[in-house]
Amino acid sequence: MSMGVAGLMLIGGYSSALFVKYCGLSFWTALPTSGLLVAFIAFGLGYPFFRLKGMYFAILTMLMGESVRMTSFYWTALTGGSAGLTGIPAPNPITIPGMITITFDSKFNYYYLMLVIVLVSLLIFYRLERSRLGSTIQTIKENDILAQSIGINVTLSKIIAFAVSSFFVAIAGALFGFYQQSLSSDAQSKFGIDTSVNVLIYTIVGGQTKFMGPIIGAFILTVIPEFGRGLREYSPILIGAVFIIVVLFLPKGIVGGFEDLLRWSSKAAAKFKARQFQ
């Protein structure tokens, strides 16, 4: 349970923006480069971090996220400090020779770019979950001592999983930066602790153990507040209430709860049928 997602997202966002602005890289190379950078950082942080478990890990990652944010907030020379980093160019257009040129200056086109990248990432995650790494992680989640006893290197697997997920976290931060075309790292920005907390909430509300869980959770909890746009300041109340209800009454999240409901109803239907035959 990591609460430092925003810190890694921040490194991804700022590094890709700086690569494009000062190193002259194009958007298409900066995006994976910043992802790899953050994955390496996560790999390095992984060993000391995974000495801790549970609550201590959560507190440690929360402190990490906040200290990254404050470092960037006060490192004015590199990041623009409280004024923020502005003038991030839009992604370079794609030209398919002989056909069309797609530009990403408008938010509309950019939306489809993000959609494609998100779908590709989801596909990669789907494959990963069914790979050897995925089943290793599943084993560790169920019983880490048992996993160790059958020869799984628990810490290394955890670190690799952390690095891989950090890659995608960095991509998310970079996409956010190019969407906004400016970045800021004060406490109320997208890189504040709220984002880390929200990501955690989406995951748990949707259901931690299921592939669809975080997707459903993020979808529900970001779309519902959009219907009451005038009541924006009330939306944390709704999100918090949903979160508490799910934690108290649906420990497997919405997806897990839904599956349980389906299983229960099919069982009940079978019972009903059996009774009718008698």
Partner: protein, 328 residues
């Protein structure tokens, strides 16, 4: 001659201040940067003294705020992440009692402590009792409460900065030092509350039962103590102390619906630094964190001052997770 003074910042006493004043007035046009440097240095020597006093008061506020966090974790095994919001609401109760009814600060503080203590009982019964012992669920419920309480406060109290008046104004003159009265009174309040808490722990049956519950929640049932009663006791005391801390912070610094988050961060830092199971450890590390927060920004600038405590605590968590004074 001026350059010599610049090169020896350790001589920044009264002579240094006068030198810098002369420097800024005469050299203003030729060398603005140098004048600015001198002014900064002379302010620093004075500001460190003020920073020490502020840090002492801040330390006592952190001690009060983090006691509740440590107690709730020790007895109920819940990381009470909404503790900062209780602190903030306690400040607002005092603010409204003093401005709307025109009450004096200290009766308002007492009422606020009782009100927030009762609020703590409510939180314990409704939200925390179902998840006692399950650390992760407890943390999640507390995060939900964090969001709800902060948004409720922002909606109902507005987001502008407020200040509670009526703690004390002016300053004591001790030798050359001006000792601000509000900060000294805050330290006094903190000390009195801590003393009362210490007497409760050491001298009363309830306190002994509380310590025993922290050691073994199942074993205490055999002795005829209801552990839920103990949970109620720590939630009451913890929330009341948080309310007192919030009111003092609101009177000395400022009050807005978002002060809960940073206060929680600092309380977590204090508890991690101290480790669990030691009141004295919390006092010492609270004062350390208070001084660090007040002095580091003055000496090294705001950036280092903000980041250094976090990095230090991360290192302590990694290499000495039990804290400086903690035991199993």
């Amino acid at each position: 001659m001026m350059n010599k003074v610049i090169l020896r910042p350790e001589r920044m006493s009264v002579a240094g201040i006068t030198c810098s004043l002369v420097a800024t007035s005469t050299w203003k046009h030729q060398n603005l940067q140098q004048g600015g440097y001198l002014m900064l240095e002379s302010v620093t020597s004075h500001a460190i003294g003020q920073g020490l006093i502020t840090g002492f008061a801040l330390g006592w506020i952190y001690i009060l705020a983090s006691l509740g966090l440590a107690l709730v974790f020790g007895i109920m095994h819940i990381v009470h992440l909404a503790h900062g919001q209780v602190y903030m609401l306690g400040g607002y109760v005092v603010l409204y009692l003093t401005t709307l009814i025109g009450m004096h600060f200290f009766p308002a503080l007492l009422i606020s402590m009782v009100v927030m203590g009762a609020f703590g009982l409510f939180l314990e019964r409704v939200f925390f009792r179902p998840v006692v012992g399950n650390i992760m669920s407890g943390m999640c419920v507390a995060i939900g409460l964090f969001l709800i309480l902060e948004a409720v406060a922002a909606v109902s109290f507005g987001v502008s900065d407020m200040r509670i008046s009526g703690l004390a104004s002016g300053s004591f003159k001790i030798l050359d030092w001006a000792l601000p009265k509000d900060r000294s009174v805050a330290v006094g309040v903190g000390m009195i509350l801590l003393l009362l808490f210490y007497i409760l722990i050491k001298r009363s049956k309830y306190g002994q039962a509380m310590v025993a519950t922290a050691q073994n929640r199942e074993g205490i049932m055999l002795q005829g103590v209801n552990p839920n009663r103990m949970s109620q006791l720590v939630m009451f005391i913890g929330s009341a102390f948080a309310a007192a801390a919030g009111a003092l912070a609101g009177a000395i610094f400022l009050l807005n619906p978002y002060i809960g988050g940073p206060a929680l961060m600092n309380a977590i830092i204090v508890v991690v630094l101290a480790g669990l199971g030691s009141v004295l450890g919390i006092v010492i590390s609270g004062l350390m964190v208070g001084f660090a927060n007040a002095i580091l920004p003055i000496i090294f600038g705001a950036g280092v001052g903000a980041v250094a405590p976090f990095v230090l605590i991360m290192l302590i968590l990694i290499f000495k997770p039990l804290g400086l004074f903690g035991h199993e």
